[in-house]
C-alpha cells in the first residue's frame, strides 16, 4: 500500500477508534490502562527507529522519557504551561539531546555506544535528584488548573486521546522511515557501517536523523506523563523498566519492521496490565525480563521474523 493512502487509512481508523472509545467506554480504569499500553507503543516504536532500523542499542530510553517528563514539570512550575506547549517542549528537548547522541556515534559504536547511553541515563538521574526546582529526590506534584474540555468526561480520557494520537503518529513515522530511501540507508548502516559509508550512504546524516527522531518521540511520550500521574519522582521516571520494556517489545515483536514494536507493545503491554491487576506489579516486570531473555536466545528475529520464516519455508520447500 502506498504511503499517503496508508497514512490516511491509519488516521481514519485511529480517529474513529478514539471517538468511539471516549464516547462509549464508561470504565475509567480502561483509559488509564490503555494510556499505559499506548505509551509503550510510542516508546517501542521510538526505540526501534534507532535500535531496530539503524542497529544502535539504546539503554537510555528512560533518560529521554525523563527529559520529556521534566520539561513538562519545569514548564508547569514556571508558567502553568498548557499541555500542548509541554508536549512540544518535551519533544524538542529530547530531540536535541538525541541529536547530541547522534554525534556520539562518531566515536562510539556497538557495545560502547550502548554502555554510554546507560551512563548518560545515570548522569541525568543524578542531576534531576539534585535539582530542587523540579522536585529533586522528593518528587513533584502537578495540579491541573481546570476540568476536562467539552466532549470529554475526565482528564483520563483527554490523556488517552492525546496518547492515542501520538501512538498513531509514531507508527506512521516509523513506517515512513522504514519504507523511504532513508530506511534503506539505515539498514545498510545496521548491516555494515563501513561498507555503507564506502558505497556513498551519508551515514552521519542518517544516524543524526535517526537518533533525533528516536529521542524526540521518547520525550514526547514522557511529556504527558506528569499530567497522567499528577506526581512524579526520579526513581519512578528513571525506572529501569522503561529501558527493559522499550528493548523487549521490539525484540519480541520483531525489529526489522514498524509493525514489530506495535505487536510487541500490545502483547507485552496488555499482559503486564492484566498481571498487574491479577497478581502484582513486580511479577509483571519479571515476565518482561524473562521474555526478553527467552526471545533473544531462542527467537532472535521476534514473532514477525518467526512467522515470516515459517511462511517462506512453506513457499519454497528445500
Amino acid at each position: 500500500m502506498s504511503s499517503p493512502r496508508f497514512t490516511a487509512l491509519v488516521t481514519g481508523i485511529a480517529a474513529l477508534a478514539i471517538v468511539a472509545t471516549v464516547a462509549g467506554v464508561r470504565n475509567e480504569y480502561f483509559f488509564s490502562a490503555a494510556y499505559t499500553v499506548l505509551q509503550f507503543v510510542v516508546l517501542a516504536s521510538a526505540w526501534n527507529i534507532l535500535g531496530g532500523f539503524t542497529g544502535y542499542v539504546n539503554f537510555g530510553s528512560a533518560a529521554f522519557f525523563a527529559l520529556g517528563v521534566y520539561s513538562s514539570v519545569f514548564l508547569h512550575n514556571l508558567v502553568q504551561a498548557p499541555i500542548a506547549l509541554s508536549i512540544a517542549a518535551g519533544t524538542g528537548v529530547a530531540a536535541l539531546v538525541g541529536l547530541g547522541m547522534g554525534y556520539l556515534t562518531l566515536r562510539l559504536r556497538g557495545v560502547f555506544f550502548a554502555i554510554a547511553t546507560l551512563a548518560f541515563a545515570q548522569v541525568l538521574l543524578t542531576f534531576v535528584v539534585n535539582w530542587e526546582y523540579v522536585g529533586g529526590a522528593r518528587g513533584a506534584y502537578i495540579v491541573l488548573p481546570h476540568g476536562p474540555p467539552p466532549g470529554f468526561r475526565s482528564n483520563g480520557q483527554v490523556l488517552f486521546a492525546i496518547m492515542a494520537v501520538m501512538a498513531a503518529g509514531s507508527l506512521a513515522l516509523a513506517r515512513w522511515v522504514q519504507t523511504s530511501t532513508m530506511g534503506r540507508g539505515l539498514a545498510a548502516i545496521r548491516d555494515d557501517e563501513v561498507a555503507a559509508e564506502c558505497s556513498g550512504v551519508p551515514t552521519l546524516r542518517l544516524k543524526l536523523v535517526s537518533t533525533t527522531l528516536s529521542g524526540g518521540l521518547m520525550g514526547m511520550a514522557g511529556a504527558t506523563f506528569p499530567y497522567f500521574l499528577l506526581y512524579v519522582e526520579p526513581g519512578g521516571v528513571f525506572s529501569l523498566s522503561y529501558a527493559v520494556n522499550s528493548i523487549a517489545m521490539p525484540l519480541i515483536g520483531g525489529m526489522h519492521s514498524w509493525a514489530g514494536p506495535l505487536l510487541g507493545a500490545l502483547l507485552l503491554g496488555i499482559a503486564q496490565q492484566v498481571l498487574q491487576v491479577t497478581v502484582s506489579a513486580d511479577w509483571n516486570l519479571f515476565l518482561v525480563g524473562a521474555l526478553l531473555v527467552l526471545f533473544v536466545t531462542v527467537a532472535p528475529e521476534g514473532i514477525m521474523g518467526w512467522t515470516r520464516r515459517r511462511g517462506r519455508a512453506r513457499e519454497a520447500p528445500p
Binding site: 554510554a116 551512563a119 543524578t126 526478553l292
Partner: protein
Amino acid sequence: MTLIANALVSGLLLAGFYAAVSVGIAISFGMLDVVNIAHPAFIVLGSYLAYFASSWIGLDPIVTALVLSPAFFALGLVLYRLYHSSFERRGRERLRGLAFFFGILFVTEVALILAFGVDYRLVNTRYMDTTWRFGAFDLPLRLFVPFLVSLGMTLSLQAFLSRTFFGRAVLAVAQDELALQLMGVDPVRVKAIAFGISIATAGVAGALLIIIQPVQPSLGREYIGLVFAIPVLGGMGSIPGTLVGATILGVASSFTSTFFGPSWSPAVSFGLLLLALALRPEGLLGKAAR
C-alpha cells in the same frame, strides 16, 4: 587539611573495593570480549548470600565468599556456555548478547525483590565498628578489611594470569582466538573457565559490598557505570590498569562526596565513563589500535 587527607585515605580504601568490583569486567569484557552487563547483579546476589549466611549461622561475609566462590564459578561456566551457543557461535550478534545480559540483570534484580523485598540488608561483624587512628588519619576497618581482601584477590589474579599456563592461555584468547585454536587449545573451554573466574570475583565483591554498605536489590545498576568505567579508564583487559582506574574513581568519588555531598557521587563514575569513552576509548594504559 585533615579533611583532604581523610578524603584521600578513604578514596584509596574505596579504590581497593572498586578494584574487586571491576576486575571481573576487566576479564570478561576486556579479555574475553563478553559484555557482561549483568555483572553488578551477581555482585548483589553475592551480598544477599553473605547476608543470609551471616544472619542464619553467623558466618563472616568473607568466609561465605570463599566458600561460595566455586558455586559462582560454576554459574559463570553455565552462563558462558549458554551465551556461547546462543550468540557467539552464530557470529555478529554481539548486540543481541548485550540485550541478553541486560535481561539477566533485570531478571536477577526483580527475582531478589520478589523473594526478599526492597528492604536494605546489612551485616554486623566485630571489626565493622572499629576505627584505627594514626594521628590525623582515620582507618575504618569497615573499609580497610575489604581493601585488603580485594588487593589480595586482584594481585593473585594478576599472578595467576601472567605466571601459569592456563592464565597465559586466557591472555592468548584475548589476543588471537584463531591462533590459539591452531595451537590445539579449545578457546571455548578457556573462555568458559575465565568467565567462571570473573563471576566468582563478583561473588567475593558482593560480600565486600555488604561489609561496606547496606544492600538492596536495585543497588546493582548504580554499579554498572563504575564496573565499566574502571576497565575502560585502565585500558581494557589489563589488571594493573584496573587498579589505576579504580584509584582514579575511588579518589574522585571520595572527594566529590566530601566536598559536594554524597548525592553527586554517582555522577562522577558515570561522567568519567562518558568522558573516557568519548575521548580515549582505548583507555589510559591501553594500546591505541585494537
